[in-house]
Symmetry: C2
Subunit: 341 residues, 2 copies
């Protein structure tokens, strides 16, 4: 049964509410309302036409709490801090018996008021960014599961790996494949309702945190699509990428890239390499644990207005990586699903 | 001024006391005594001929505590647990006003008795395996320091990267080079008395934890030798290796290998690749942040009895990686120091 949720997105909807938008687009939650004091009175469909619709209200008090299971914090300011202006909504949700889910660095369970209130009302505060205590070193067993494992990998951060993962899973399901997303980052975890925040685990356990999820789901589904993170050549975050690659022991890789991106986001003194070089890097690094090849590409063309230009960019990308490619959001995922199955 | 230390190594000296042996061999500590109830009465030189000598006694009570600054836990059982049979020695050291240093997973600061006693006696408990709170994401600035940065990399865990790091630093110093070790693991940190335990930091901060150390020392010395960890192709630990490689932004690499090792230690279903393939992997993965090449090899030949056979193995290793090679412990480090300077 899908969860009935309210999503907190004050002052950030829809332009800076990545988690809220992800839930509206990909989650199987029943969204009862979005909280945003700036756009209150509008509906989601006034701003995002192609996702689940819901009313936008200014506070949790305006919602019929009887109809709600969970409040989800759907925004994450830089640094992951908790904004005190959200406190009345979180308090009201707990008092109404709702669980609260958050991907913030600020842990709700460490907040004295919230933890006391949650205990009093018997609700759960779920800090998805806090790794669970049982994580450990990988046993290199992910390759043993009967499901096919596909990993989305990228040329940089924020090129669309999470989106590609969700689109591929949805398209696979639509094609009759029993697919499951393996979420590794906060938005994916909130959307899916489970998962390990791989970038927050002890570095020795990076591969193990991915392996654990694959072993958990690998006999229940036919296809696992693992959400990749960052890039294997990223100067700051490559450790996470490398751990996911070896921990997942994937059967196939999908290379994600953003059209026009030519330097590393936030590290602009570093050029991106030609996409084909990422293919070589990922394949040769994966080789000792799997014979995974890059079987498809996902190009994010959201920065290209004209459809013909976007199509040309996709075609050029496919040619350079020598694999079928698509903008999965703009042009559909069928070709890529065919390549990964 | 060098620290006057007592090293706890109960029932493990000298065969299973890696940290104790490292301090005796490479530390600039003045070792007042080794605690080992099994070999008490002997001297270190009865067991390890080529390291600093010291008496072996059965308990801290047998030591003149006036002559001691620190007790160091010099052994680490599997799992890093604290053995309760050590408690009287740790207690006696604290009561005598000595600091206590430990690389265990079990944190002395979290032990109620020890932390209360330490506060009472004004001593410091130093859990070197606990990362400090100020770590963060790398800014990719390690390449800016004026010192040359050399990183030891390996074909597997436990092939001799820590030993190679220490031998190279000592040989460089002997050759008149102002060299500094950048320690990344518990033994290196205990020997050097500082450092970040890179395998225990949040995975997002792996590169940043190395960068921080290089920025701290990069203007004070002419040569930094960074202690590498694991292997870039290790199925469980590669994330740590990858983060160190990109965080260090090294100028040169030294490839460490153990003669005869042909499968991954503890993951024996995975073959090691030919050493030359590690050269390619490390160089191509480093390329976006530095033009580092593998300029030398360090071969651990401790498993080969005959010197002539060991020399032949070193020669073959040097040929396969196309660089000067040596067993740094057995045959000296001069050639390799020449290659890295």
């Amino acid at each position: 049964m899908s969860q009935r949720v309210v999503i907190l997105a004050h002052e950030k909807f829809p332009g800076r509410s990545k988690t809220a938008n992800g839930i509206l687009r990909y989650g199987d939650h029943e969204v009862v309302a979005v909280l945003d004091r700036d756009t209150a009175g509008d509906r989601v469909s006034d701003h995002l036409p192609d996702v689940q619709d819901a009313p936008i209200v200014e506070s949790f008090g305006r919602v019929d709490a009887e109809q709600v299971d969970q409040l989800i914090v759907g925004i994450s300011p830089i640094g992951g801090a908790f904004d005190e202006s959200w406190r009345p909504d979180v308090r009201a949700a707990i008092e109404a018996g709702c669980d609260v889910v958050s991907g913030l660095h600020y842990f709700l369970n460490d907040d004295e008021e919230f933890s006391a209130l949650a205990a009093e009302h018997g609700v759960t505060l779920r800090d998805v960014r806090r790794p669970h205590e049982g994580l450990g070193v990988s046993d290199a067993r992910a390759g043993d599961v009967s499901a096919d494992v596909v990993l989305t990998v990228g040329t940089d951060c924020s090129v669309g790996k999470m989106t590609a993962t969700m689109e591929l899973a949805a398209a696979a399901e639509a094609a009759g494949i029993d697919a499951c997303v393996i979420p590794t980052g906060q938005t994916g975890i909130v959307i899916e309702g489970w998962g390990n925040p791989v970038d927050r685990v002890v570095s020795d356990f990076t591969a193990g945190a991915v392996e654990e999820m694959i072993l958990e789901k690998g006999e229940e589904h036919d296809l696992l699509i693992v959400e990749g993170q960052a890039s294997i050549l990223h100067p700051a975050y490559s450790a996470v990428t490398c751990g996911i690659l070896h921990g997942a022991m994937p059967d196939r890789l999908v290379l994600c890239h953003e059209a026009g991106r030519d330097v590393i986001h936030g590290y602009e003194e570093f050029d991106l390499l030609p996409p084909a070089e990422y293919v070589d890097q990922y394949e040769s690094l994966a080789a000792p644990v799997s014979d995974a090849e890059v079987v498809a590409g996902a190009l994010n063309t959201s920065g290209i207005e004209n459809d013909a230009d976007a199509e040309a960019a996709v075609a050029a990308f496919g040619e350079t990586i020598d694999a079928p490619a698509a903008d999965l959001v703009r042009f559909g995922a069928d070709d890529v699903v065919e390549a990964i199955r």
